[in-house]
Symmetry: C2
Subunit: 126 residues, 2 copies
DNA sequence: GAAAACTACATGCGCTCGCATCTAATGCGC
DNA sequence: GCGCATTAGATGCGAGCGCATGTAGTTTTC
């Protein structure tokens, strides 16, 4: 207890590390594949999910993103043709989000960039 | 090599961790002390520096923040009376930023909140 | 020593974010 | 069944960000 400095240093290094990686991911995914980091993560959740369609709520829960931000992210992805919205018959307030074939292709391509960048920045240890 | 999933998992957990802490810091620093996380970090760099005044450039270099964002952050802090800008005689393009007494007081108070939150989220190990 | 290249910081712009709010659909009490 | 609270998602709003550019001061080049 009461060891302030260590924690602050730890936090600072975490911040630097996180920002560096996140910034690079965002930039390169955008540049090479036209998707932001959040858009990529959204595609990732959809691609990973067996049913390949998810409620907005479930998506939001898995994604460190506010509900409104997610709503807009999905809107952008839909505009780009990478996902589709489908209304949910069981509960007509709900919306299903499904990744399209184009979305899957884009995801696969971007995923490689993503993994490469992570490999560059994160060692196997730590 | 080629162990994609581990790295991705590692990155995901880092993201979740970082966002959780950063969000809490931002929220509580704002709520209790009226400064954002970036503003706090700026005050921190200024308070830590012996000379208590720094060039914008040096500040930016220490701070994972773009030059324009820093410029505006300093402007906000100045508006709040927590820092002062002073022109640099040696190079009149440059600007010195100095923390005020009010800034120091605010920093000290906020710093306690900051340390408490870190202590809550970061264990001594890891 | 004047013109051109460069540097430090500020600012216009477009974007994303979170918060608060709105709309529409659902469930609950009675 | 009819109101009233609740829930899912969309959206208006204000704020901060990064990029590109603007402005003023400095260095370099010849």
């Amino acid at each position: 207890m009461a060891q302030g400095p260590e924690l602050v240093d730890q936090w600072r290094s975490m911040t630097a590390r996180y920002n560096e990686i996140a910034c690079r991911l965002d930039r390169e995914l955008e540049e090479s594949h036209g998707v932001s980091m959040n858009e990529f993560e959204t595609l990732d959740r959809l691609a990973a999910h067996d049913a390949d369609k998810l409620r907005m709520l479930d998506l939001a829960a898995a994604m460190y993103l506010s509900q409104s931000a997610l709503s807009r992210t999905v809107a952008r992805l839909e505009r780009a043709g990478l996902v589709e919205r489908a209304l949910c018959e069981a509960d007509r307030r709900g919306v299903f989000v499904r990744i399209t074939d184009a979305g899957r292709d884009r995801y696969r391509a971007a995923s490689e960039t993503h993994r490469n960048i992570l490999a560059e920045h994160l060692s196997a240890a730590d």
